[in-house]
Symmetry: C4
Subunit: 276 residues, 4 copies
């Protein structure tokens, strides 16, 4: 049987030339066995708010910017009219807490927009982490309950039973019924790919939240457990508490209005969503 | 602050760094002309239930795990709070049945999420099968009738007329009107690509089912024919029968409720869908 | 400024191994300046019916099968229960008509399912055509009017003014208002890419049709013009006329029913859609 | 019949054979530090109308055509029945305005259809621009207000504060609240990728428009500022004013009809959308 191969490679006049994921390093640092903490946008923006608060309070610095075709084709515009391409950022801080741990914090404007994008971005983050010596991951997020939550618990899931047991000692709730459908997105993949492909251990901390508003109060609960586990003392939660109060004021007003009238509600609700 | 920019112009092929499909071999085995049996999630989960039951009853062992960007970006969480990256698994068992056949069983959490993913995953499975000596494929699934089925038939389709004739001898129904739109998904592609690209022969066995609930009873009918064709004797169907009874109890209750009230129905129906 | 490159190329354990488009040649032939005629599924299946009728009447033979990840992951099942992977086919016939022209006919089960798939498949077809010496393309299709058409005209569009003028001489209508949104899909791309990338000339013939049913009558109008332009004499339209009558009978019944009752309509309409 | 099978296992990179983006150069020119002006389809077609008007008035010539799998699989058909593959075009003009600047103008039928396509196309445009010496980008577009705009302002966003300040001097409005969600699509990416990857400076000019109709009046406002910033004198706006009047006549009629009747409105509105 004769094989006839088609000539499948034309001389490419021009092809795609953008990398699917571009890493732009802002600093060059050596870290010692750093812990990777992820807080990307998601339910109630719990993870993102927690990560941003942590960055502010411990004074973490920008290590690298991540741009990608897996993010929306978009620039944000700041109050001065200056544009910024959307992406993710990795921050770092050395010698954090009583145990002088180095940490990396991942946050950003968006998660990957497609399943493929989620896999590719997470794998790239893990590869960067691996090169820097990451062996442990904390993924922060919210768990949407669909109803108002007065005292948010922090639900957990981890890559191994030892981590589950350790986290339970810090008050993390491992509830047999939650999360029923697993964990979808960056937090889930960081644990799943991190374990299977990079041999890392991971813990996901999910603050209970209604899912309707941004929820700094749930972020605080998540952070309280994180700093306890990482032996970070004296972290101020003031900025997060201020935001939580602001949200509570607005939600109360929205609820009052909901009882008396429908006017103006949309605007308020929208405002609530963007606090953070 | 020094800015370190990556070289942004790289060869086109170095953009992503995750493999689109990753195979993680758990064992190394030599098999003799193995038969590939597929039972992935689908209508009534008939194929997946059948494959899992077969794995349990003959004591098949895990050969390889398959992760892929074509699956959802998700981990499942077990009752202990431990995460597991979603994927497909290939199991194997040597010397099965009266003819001492080696078999491979493919099952998993999901089928590929896109047409391209379906093609790529199926082709990869077939390539693995080819390397192991697979020449015959049995694809197990459900055929949704849209109404309750009291005594499910097993409908068939095959890559060649000889296989059709042989299967008819075992009670498989080749109904001119079914399936009208062909077979979509992993079962269809295993037969189609298997024949056209890998020169394999394949038979698809589809247990009739309502399509509304998971259907262990249909799985049993499919398995009965499979074990007869493969000369596997004494396979116990007890576990499958127990599940079928559990489902029947719940569907009866749902139907009773349907007549008297709408309360609570959704929860029950949802429960039904996840038995398995 | 120091450049730090990440290692973007891991040792790939396994990657995708299926070609996005696979051509399986059934015969090896040398053709002399063949004309490529396309009739793929589309509005009223006008193009596909015309291409299939032409294949039958002139006794064209299968040259190559095309499989692709851009088609649905599906096998069709014939009346004997035998599966067939969906795809496109290229047929050929030498010395057709008074001018002894060689022709290639492209038809199949589906067009590409995505814009990217449309481009890739069309480009592959054109590459094959180029290698075989194709310089002229006839793309056959339907033009959906949204209302019943009693005497279908054949609308046209072409890659150059000379072809427009020539086709007008054969009764093709070049209507300034049609098609308002251009030509989408394989027919459009064969002309557009054929002209811009492969330097071919193309004519698109679109039979007016309601767009609600398969329309063998519109196919006949399109074919009448095609065979006149290609100097093919004595082509019988009997089979196409029989199908057209069958469709007309059914549509009449459906319309009668539409006036008197709604019962049974869906089944009939569905039947109508699949005649072909 | 001999079966000739293609070698089905090829290197991963030889699967598709069409370039994802194809550049077809029509002329070869050397430009001196050219400014890139973009006006692609978007809200009110403000950018596209402005770019086309500028091309006409300064007599810019076609430099290159861009075809891509990221555009729809479509040809447009002109009044003579001749087809044209959809794409983008780059025009050029030397020695424009009082400062004898060279300029490049990007316009076309569509923007990229997917986020990935947007990134890939924009990156390709920027690469071409970089090679030609582009350091400054003007992205023209509309800003949809959702209500009729009597005297459209021109809103701005820029890659740096200096450009913001300069543009403010020409009457561009940098409004803290607009655009709230940033700038999506080609205009945004040209600025974002241009700055981050190619080190270019960019300004986006957005003419306020209702968003319901094509809006030549908003295009004129945008162009007025552009020509002032580029020291282009004596540009006639007559053609744009004529189109604006035509649109205004039609919108008035539509609004009158809206008050008295609903008949015929859709057709008129549709007509309005396609003026340009």
């Amino acid at each position: 049987m004769e094989i006839i191969e088609e000539n499948l490679r034309k001389e490419a006049e021009v092809t795609d030339n953008m990398d699917n994921i571009t890493i732009k390093y802002v600093e060059e640092v050596e870290l010692d066995n750093p812990i990777l903490i992820e807080g990307l946008p998601g339910v109630g923006n719990v993870g993102k708010l927690a990560a941003e608060h942590l960055i502010d309070e411990i004074g973490a610095e920008l290590l690298a910017e991540i741009y990608s075709i897996y993010f929306p084709p978009q620039v944000l515009v700041n109050d001065e009219g200056v544009t910024e391409l959307v992406g993710n950022n990795i921050y770092y801080k050395k010698d954090v807490g009583a145990e002088d741990r180095d940490i990396l914090i991942l946050t950003g404007d968006y998660q990957g927009m497609t399943p493929q994008g989620q896999y590719m971005l997470t794998d790239k983050i893990l590869e960067i982490g691996k090169e820097m010596g990451v062996k442990n991951i904390f993924a922060l997020g919210g768990y949407g309950q669909g109803s108002m939550v007065s005292k948010p618990r922090v639900l957990g899931a981890a890559t191994d039973k030892e981590m589950v047991d350790e986290a339970e000692g810090f008050g993390v709730v491992f509830d047999r019924d939650h999360p029923a459908s697993g964990i979808v997105g960056a937090s889930g993949l960081l644990l799943g790919l991190g374990e299977k492909v990079y041999g890392m251990k991971g813990l996901c901390l999910m603050g209970e939240t209604s899912g309707y508003f941004v929820d700094p109060a749930a972020s605080r609960e998540v952070l309280e457990i994180l700093v306890a586990m990482l032996d970070i003392e004296d972290l101020s939660f003031e900025a997060l508490e201020d935001k939580a109060e602001e949200v509570e004021d607005l939600t109360s007003k929205v609820m009052d209005m909901d009882l008396s009238s429908n006017v103006g509600q949309d605007t308020q609700s929208e405002h609530l969503r963007y606090i953070g």
